[in-house]
């Protein structure tokens, strides 16, 4: 088991390294010169060269990449002499736009993205699994048909369309919610809840519909298994057979998918955060891309890739615990 975990972690580090090299290659080679963008309209060649030197852009590609990677692990120094700035590990560099430490920017914005992700996840797990279970138990009933019809519909709404519709109806027309803004919980719990409610709803809708369909299909499959027939013929009540025998095998696949979906969300709900103007990782990604702020783009790509891969590993480990059939030797 320990060997398996170590192997998976090594694989994770290797893949992250690949993502890092690949992203670095693409942005530092393909996109327009950041020094020119910082320099602006009144620019002289000297000034560009100066900026390039201060950003370390004048060095060869491999040196830059090495500096970046070692900065990530051990921290690095920018500039020289009196202008020396030490960036402690994990150093992701400084934003070309605001000169802020990218690590600090992420630390500031991660709570917003995490709040969005956790709230939405709670919502979609409860609604999705409950609806799916009910549908499976009452397969073919009007509830089943209505719920599954709604689930197909809900899964088809692009989230920005849903976001704008909700905003129009709830904020502009009915005026029962304020315009979303990332209010900290400690400041005003009610306003906090109100301002995150729409992002949660928007994100949760698509996933809840998907999970409802998935849960229904899995539970129906499980109910048709031989061990379920045995359980029923032993005289166990339907509720008990469901709780003791059906739920675990039916819901383990959901755990896998949930782990990956949730991990991907931690890396920022790009569209939802942008539409609602929430200052999370997703909006930071969108802004940095719009302004070609390479250190920030690098950081959000790496962060998102890290979450996805780490989620993958965690799910696989959890799975071996939940499903005895896939225990590793």
């Amino acid at each position: 088991m320990a060997r398996y975990v170590a192997g998976r972690l090594a694989g994770l580090v290797f893949l992250l390294l690949l993502v890092c090299v690949f992203t670095y290659l693409i942005f530092f080679k393909l996109s327009p010169d950041p020094a020119l963008m910082i320099c602006g309209k009144t620019c002289t060649p000297d000034r560009v060269a100066q900026i390039r030197a201060s950003l370390g852009l004048d060095k060869p590609f491999l040196t830059q990449l090495w500096d970046y990677l070692s900065g990530l692990v051990a921290g690095r120094d920018y500039g020289s002499g009196p202008n020396l700035v030490h960036c402690p590990a994990p150093c992701l560099g400084y934003s070309f736009q605001s000169s802020q430490s990218v690590t600090q920017m992420i630390v500031d914005r991660l709570p917003v993205s995490a709040t969005v992700a956790v709230g939405a996840a709670v919502l979609w797990l409860i609604v999705g699994i409950a609806a799916g279970l009910l549908s499976a138990v009452k397969e073919g009933s009007w509830w089943d048909r209505t719920a599954m019809g709604l689930a197909l519909g809900g899964a088809s709404i692009p989230n920005y369309v849903l976001a704008l519709t909700l905003q129009y109806v709830l904020v502009v027309k009915l005026q029962i919610l304020p315009f979303p803004s990332a209010v900290p919980f400690s400041e005003d719990p009610l306003l906090w809840f109100q301002s995150y409610l729409m992002p949660w709803l928007v994100l949760a809708t698509g996933y809840a519909c998907l999970y409802a369909r998935l849960t229904r299909a899995n539970v129906i499959d499980t109910l048709a298994q031989n061990f379920m027939r045995t359980a029923r013929s032993k005289g166990l009540s339907p509720a008990l057979t469901m709780r003791r025998h059906a739920l675990r095998p039916a819901l383990t696949p959901i755990v896998t998918i949930f782990g990956m979906d949730f991990a991907a969300l931690l890396g920022g709900a790009l569209i939802t955060e942008t539409v609602f103007g929430l200052n999370g990782i997703g909006k930071m990604a969108a802004d940095s891309i719009a302004k070609n702020d390479q250190p920030v783009i690098m950081a959000v790509t790496l962060l998102a890739a890290f979450f996805v891969m780490a989620g993958n590993v965690v799910v696989d480990l959890l799975y071996t615990g939940l499903d005895p059939r896939v225990r590793v030797s």
């Binding site: 992203t23 942005f27 088809s156 692009p158 790009l270 719009a290 890739a305």
Partner: protein, 318 residues
């Protein structure tokens, strides 16, 4: 999934008679779809949208409004360019209203936008399917190091935060033909999801008796792949491709919504929704029309894919 007594023919049919099976199988699925109200309605709506896309120039000719023709008479400059009349300027002249400020006809833009969306989604689907099938087959059929290499590439691509990366690549690449760029980017990040399924199914198919029999009777590799394995993948491929099209329509619209998709003045649904964002409070129709078209198109394709899957599953169930 609900009724449909499982037909045992499909399973009991020996692979020798496989040449006969596709026609009856296809007809059975078509019959099942015709009986399903949701599937019929979806097909009807999709037919309408495709017709609109094909006849876009005709629509423009009949209404007299091209997708980029300004109509200053249809908007009220005193109200900051809001369309005249109710419901975003719906009138006999402009059937779906006009855009605020410049008064472009929304019907014409929807029709031309449908061309862009469908063209991109269908090209991306064809390309991802092609890549996914070829690479998935290779990995599943040859296994060993071929499988290792292809599987690792798939892991790598699937670990990438695709949306962030697509946006980043699209915004940093030089402005070329955006549609081609979009299709390329979607394909590069899309094929592993299909290849993974193809690989898994091929892995089990390769060990089935009929493949062994074909191999023992001296069939060439090509014959085994094209005559024995590929026909057995057909059903899941049909399902996956019908479900991929709405996904890619959504992706294209999403990327255009975020401003990295097709560039104006070429209309696209996502881009129309994106430009409607600043007007949603005062002119909700401007946002509702492309939003509704996008939603209904994705829904119809999803329903259709779902029903095809149910019909083909009912045939496969033993």
């Amino acid at each position: 999934m609900t009724t449909a007594a499982p037909s045992h023919e499909a399973m009991a049919d020996p692979p020798a008679g496989a040449g006969d099976a596709p026609a009856t199988e296809g007809r059975r699925i078509a019959r099942a779809l015709l009986r399903d109200r949701g599937a019929v309605l979806s097909t009807a709506f999709l037919g309408l949208v495709v017709l609109m896309a094909i006849c876009a120039p005709l629509i423009s000719a009949v209404t007299g409004h091209g997708p980029n023709d300004f109509d200053p008479a249809a908007v009220d400059t005193n109200l900051g360019g809001l369309p005249r009349g109710s419901f975003g300027g719906v009138s006999a002249d402009h059937l779906l209203g006009v855009e605020p400020q410049n008064g472009r006809d929304i019907l014409a833009r929807i029709a031309y936008g449908a061309r862009v969306s469908f063209l991109i989604a269908i090209s991306a689907t064809v390309l991802t399917t092609l890549l996914g099938v070829v690479l998935g087959l290779l990995a599943g059929f040859y296994q060993g190091w071929v499988d290792q290499v292809i599987s690792r590439i798939m892991d790598f691509l699937m670990a990438f935060p695709a949306l962030i990366f697509m946006i980043a690549i699209l915004s940093s690449l030089p402005t070329g033909d955006r549609s081609v760029l979009l299709v390329t980017v979607i394909t590069v990040f899309g094929w592993p999801y299909l290849a993974r399924v193809v690989r898994g199914q091929t892995l089990t198919l390769v060990n089935r008796e009929f493949v062994e029999a074909a191999r023992a009777s001296g069939a060439s590799t090509g014959a085994i792949v094209f005559k024995e394995i590929l026909p057995n993948l057909r059903n899941s491929l049909i399902v996956m491709t019908t479900l991929a099209v709405p996904g890619y329509i959504g992706t294209e619209a999403g990327l255009s919504f975020l401003g990295v998709g097709v560039t104006p003045p070429t209309p696209s649904w996502g881009q129309m929704i994106s430009s409607a964002v600043s007007w949603y409070a005062t002119d909700p129709m401007y946002f509702a029309v492309p939003g509704l078209f996008l939603f209904l198109t994705v829904l119809s394709l999803t329903v259709l894919g779902d029903r095809i899957r149910a019909a083909s599953d009912a045939g496969e169930a033993s």
